[in-house]
């Protein structure tokens, strides 16, 4: 029995996610909703489960319980009445084509140039013709401000440049939602700005984004919704002005006061 695709009101709909590593419960009944075109920032202390939640969204981590739906499609599983059957590698890969991810440590392919990094997936998976995918890649590089660096290898680029190439690489697959896992945490302070600029422009262009970050300023400026997580639970969520200026929970206040010092 298949469900006919309905226009999704939500782009990302994660419900009641539980995840444990051995005896450590990392996510406890976590839910997250993101509307199309919205930017959601997930904040909180280390170990709070933010990255784990993000990685569940594209099934890099398998939730122990709960469901994740992206644009109406159940991720990682096939539903048969009340039973969820795990999807095979090919099916999950196809789902991941619509979800872009940017990692804290960039993870560019070191044996390929910047341009090749970007054209690899569209070429290999979607078999886009060479001319098209190179033109698209070049335009993405220009959008992130690296139009002349296509022939450089990752080792020849600064951290900020590498991360911008990584963003372009994720965008090349034209995903429905972009996931960012602490994109600036591994960067020198002076390089953080150039990456945040790219992300700001991306948000302004209407891309749905879920960003795990420590950059409160960015969240305040760009986010439509802020989620504060600690010890595996969502402590509070709401508009940035509300959460930052009038937090409802003690833990949020404590975290903000530590971070904003």
């Amino acid at each position: 029995m298949t469900e006919s695709p309905q226009p999704a009101r939500l782009m990302v709909d994660a419900r009641n996610i539980y995840k444990s590593y051995g005896s450590v419960e990392v996510l406890k009944d976590v839910s997250l909703q993101v509307k199309p075109g919205e930017v959601t920032c997930v904040l909180g202390p280390s170990g709070g489960g933010k990255s784990t939640l993000l990685r569940c969204l594209n099934h890099l981590e398998k939730p122990d319980d709960g469901t994740i739906t992206i644009d109406g499609e159940l991720i990682g599983y096939r539903r048969n009445n009340d039973v969820l059957h795990e999807l095979g590698n090919r099916a999950i890969s196809r789902q991941r084509e619509d979800i872009g991810m940017v990692f804290q440590s960039f993870n560019l392919f070191p044996h390929m140039t910047a341009l090749q990094n970007i054209t690899e997936a569209p070429g290999r998976i979607r078999r886009e013709p060479k001319v098209q995918r190179e033109a698209h890649a070049q335009s993405l590089l220009a959008q992130v401000g690296l139009g002349d660096k296509g022939g450089r290898y990752p080792s020849q680029l600064s951290g900020g440049q590498q991360q911008r190439v990584a963003i372009a690489r994720a965008l090349a697959m034209r995903p429905k939602v972009m996931l960012f896992d602490e994109p600036t945490s591994a960067l020198d302070p002076e390089l953080v700005g150039e990456v945040l600029d790219v992300m700001r422009r991306l948000a302004a262009s209407g891309v749905t984004m879920v960003v795990v970050t420590h950059e409160i300023g960015f969240a305040r400026e760009v986010a439509d919704n802020v989620v504060f997580m600690d010890h595996g639970v969502v402590v509070e969520t709401g508009a940035p002005e509300r959460v930052f200026d009038a937090p409802e929970h003690q833990r949020t206040t404590e975290f903000l006061s530590r971070v904003l010092k």
Binding site: G100, N107, A121, I125, A170
Partner: protein
């Protein structure tokens, strides 16, 4: 030379390492003595060696050694990659089969494997099914047995080298490929294996050189390699020592060429990374003979 506190320069006298000079001289003297003992040895007929270096039988044996090495290495590398990937898969059957394969072919001496293949007809007089079968002795010639033994043995060792190389690739690379929607096979072929090559190539060069020398074992089944033919002529002409030296010269030549080839291959594959050897081959060799304190 350093600047002392009062502004004058201190004179530094480097230690003389008398011990090294003495022991080095003794060793050099011993080597010279040994080499001259061989060179002036009346029991060795040097003209026989010189004549036979390019004797047709020797050259055909040389050719056999070369193609046995190359084919075994190629099959070994391909087989090694297959077994390594099987060993790392989630499929229990593949995992077990690869494990058993490696266990057996690394756990038995190559010589024993060689003899088992050669005598396969004793287990299986005929190979095949019903009417479409062939007499084992027709199929398994000494050369075929040699190839089977060398290639399958090499694949087992290459599997471990390849596995090590694959494990050396950071997990983030796999995740990045997966996040882009690449299926596991594409990730392995396009992202992991190319990066694994850096770790796989250096020990593989050693494997090739070892394999080259191991081909000499096929002389026990008379497979017509360099050693087989050298021994044959040595027995025929009553010149066993000279023919062994002929074989020695050729083996040394081959391994030297292979070593240079390995160096060039490493240089090309590691281009642009910090692992790339920067010096020319002669300088690299000279460096091996230079004590640490003299190196810049």
């Amino acid at each position: 030379m350093t600047l002392a506190d009062n502004g004058s320069r201190t004179r530094i006298v480097q230690s003389r390492h008398w011990g090294q000079w003495v022991s080095g001289s003794i060793i050099v003297a011993l080597v010279v003595a040994f080499v001259s003992a061989i060179a002036t040895n009346e029991s060795i007929r040097w003209e026989v060696i010189a004549q036979n270096l390019t004797y047709p039988t020797i050259l055909s044996g040389l050719w056999t050694t070369i193609w046995l090495t190359i084919v075994s290495m190629v099959v070994g590398v391909i087989g090694g990659i297959l077994v390594a990937v099987m060993r790392m898969s989630n499929n229990v059957v593949l995992y077990a089969v690869a494990g058993a394969y490696t266990w057996f072919f690394r756990g038995t001496p190559l010589l024993v494997q060689l003899l088992l293949w050669y005598n396969l007809a004793l287990f299986f007089p005929r190979l095949g099914f019903g009417a479409a079968s062939i007499d084992t002795n027709v199929l398994i010639t000494p050369a075929v047995a040699a190839l089977l033994a060398l290639a399958l043995n090499e694949a087992a060792y290459m599997a471990e080298i390849v596995r090590g190389g694959i494990l050396a690739v950071q997990n983030g690379q796999r995740e990045a490929g997966a996040a882009l929607g690449m299926p596991n096979t594409a990730i392995m072929v396009r992202i992991v294996l190319p990066q694994a090559m850096k770790v796989i190539v250096p020990p593989s060069g050693n494997e090739l050189i070892t394999l080259l020398k191991m081909t000499s074992l096929v002389a026990v089944i008379g497979a017509g390699d360099l050693l087989t033919n050298a021994q044959y002529i040595g027995t025929r002409d009553f010149t066993p020592m000279e023919m062994l030296l002929v074989a020695t010269v050729w083996y040394l030549l081959l391994t030297t060429v292979a070593t240079c080839g390995q160096y060039l291959l490493e240089q090309r594959l590691l281009r642009g990374t910090h692992l790339q050897p920067k010096r020319s081959l002669t300088r690299q060799v000279m460096r091996n003979f230079t004590p640490d304190r003299v190196r810049s």
